[in-house]
Symmetry: C2
Subunit: 251 residues, 2 copies
């Protein structure tokens, strides 16, 4: 790599972010190939399958075996092949990935739950959480444009994950929660990425009352947050933020 | 929307970026739904179909009719239904969109063309192009996190497009080039977004010798640029940039 600064040229040796291909086989059927960062792949797979409605929780899963060498994850469910056979596919192209797919499983009807949590949080607490979040993300954002996501309570970050995909970073968090029985109900998600309708749907399925992003929401993201009862905060940077919906949770 | 600045709260009225759903029907068969920004949709559709290998150029297309009210684009090809029936689908989850799909058409084998253009450009010319690019993107990036892409020659920006999806912004450019017979061979693409393998494949299919990004490439992006003979530049900001591959085109 050649680094140019003004008129100067020098050999550089920057870290380049890795892009990894992970093919998921669901009950021996090839389901999808994810472009992702090669960490916490078991959590990514569990989170993805939950987000897309293939599994409803840990109880549905039999085994997830990830082969990091070959880039393959083999998933079996307790119901086995029966369940693998009946998924229908609705193709949806994701906003910031450009190319997208969405699966709607017939047994999946979590979309319209209203989030009822009465959790309250102060602006100072949100600023402090975002400050810690940005500190932890810093190296990665500077070097590789990697996205970050975190699960928090009011006082601290409980889980922090990165991925080249903003959806994946959140799926890694939720996958870990599912596999380790970590509660999400009264908790907060922080994300570096924009909040499109897909992100909103993903987070609402875990019953999260507060979603805080460093970036912008889309109008569909705001609309869905309003409908689902989620407090959506965008542009949370330094001592500033915009509260788009259900501001009663912020003191 | 409630705007928080330090301890102050005030009613805000920010512009929120629009997210639009566009369903593409290809020879009367539902192909895909894109999450996009609602501008230049005819170009987006043409560019998407080319990128994904459904059409090889303008000559394949009969008609693209976009219904902005219903969010539907109806595309017919000259070969008609015959062509619509035989596409096979390979699902691929895009890095930054999280959810992705990639179609491989049997007749599509553009991937391994080597780019032979001997175009030369100075670092000063690249800095000037990126400066204009950032100026034009500024409002949108501040308000909505929208991605930008531009087609340039050495002297100026020829086409500039935005979209909530970084893939879409580039597809809008290429779609317009295809429909209006605008040459891309000896030209340059600027993008605000990260360069993953998918972006690299998309741009290489238009035989573009120089791809300049404000953001980072992934390792797979760099590897493919090397193989395809494309000069890949990342982190082009102010008077700085990193040249990852085929630096002989930059003086």
């Amino acid at each position: 790599m050649l680094q140019i600064i003004g008129q100067e040229k020098k050999k550089g040796n920057d870290t380049i972010v890795r892009e990894f291909s992970l093919s998921i086989f669901f009950n021996n059927q090839e389901l999808v190939t994810l472009a992702c960062s090669p960490s916490n792949l078991e959590h990514l797979v569990a989170g993805f399958l939950f987000s897309e409605g293939f599994v409803k929780g840990k109880h549905d899963l039999n085994e997830i075996v990830v082969d990091y060498q070959r880039g393959v994850a083999k998933v079996t469910t307790k119901e086995g092949k029966k369940k693998g056979g009946d998924f229908s596919i609705k193709r949806l192209i994701a906003s910031s990935g450009g190319k997208g797919i969405s699966f709607f499983h017939p047994t999946d009807s979590h979309y319209h739950t209203t989030i009822k949590s009465q959790i309250k949080i102060s602006t100072t607490e949100i600023f402090a959480l975002m400050d810690e979040f940005v500190q932890r993300s810093k190296i990665f954002q500077d070097t590789g444009g990697v996205h970050s996501a975190a699960l928090c309570d009011k006082n601290e970050i409980l889980l922090f994950r990165e991925d080249i995909g903003r959806h994946n970073a959140i799926d890694k968090i939720f996958g870990e929660c599912i596999l380790k029985n970590i509660q999400t109900d009264e908790r907060i998600i922080l994300t570096s990425g924009r909040v499109s309708s897909e992100i909103l749907l993903k987070v609402s399925k875990r019953n999260i009352p507060l979603l805080v992003s460093k970036s912008a929401p889309t109008d569909m993201g705001v609309q869905l947050a309003g409908e689902f009862g989620m407090t959506l905060i965008g542009f949370a940077r330094g001592e500033r933020m915009n509260i788009y919906t259900h501001e009663y949770r912020v003191m």
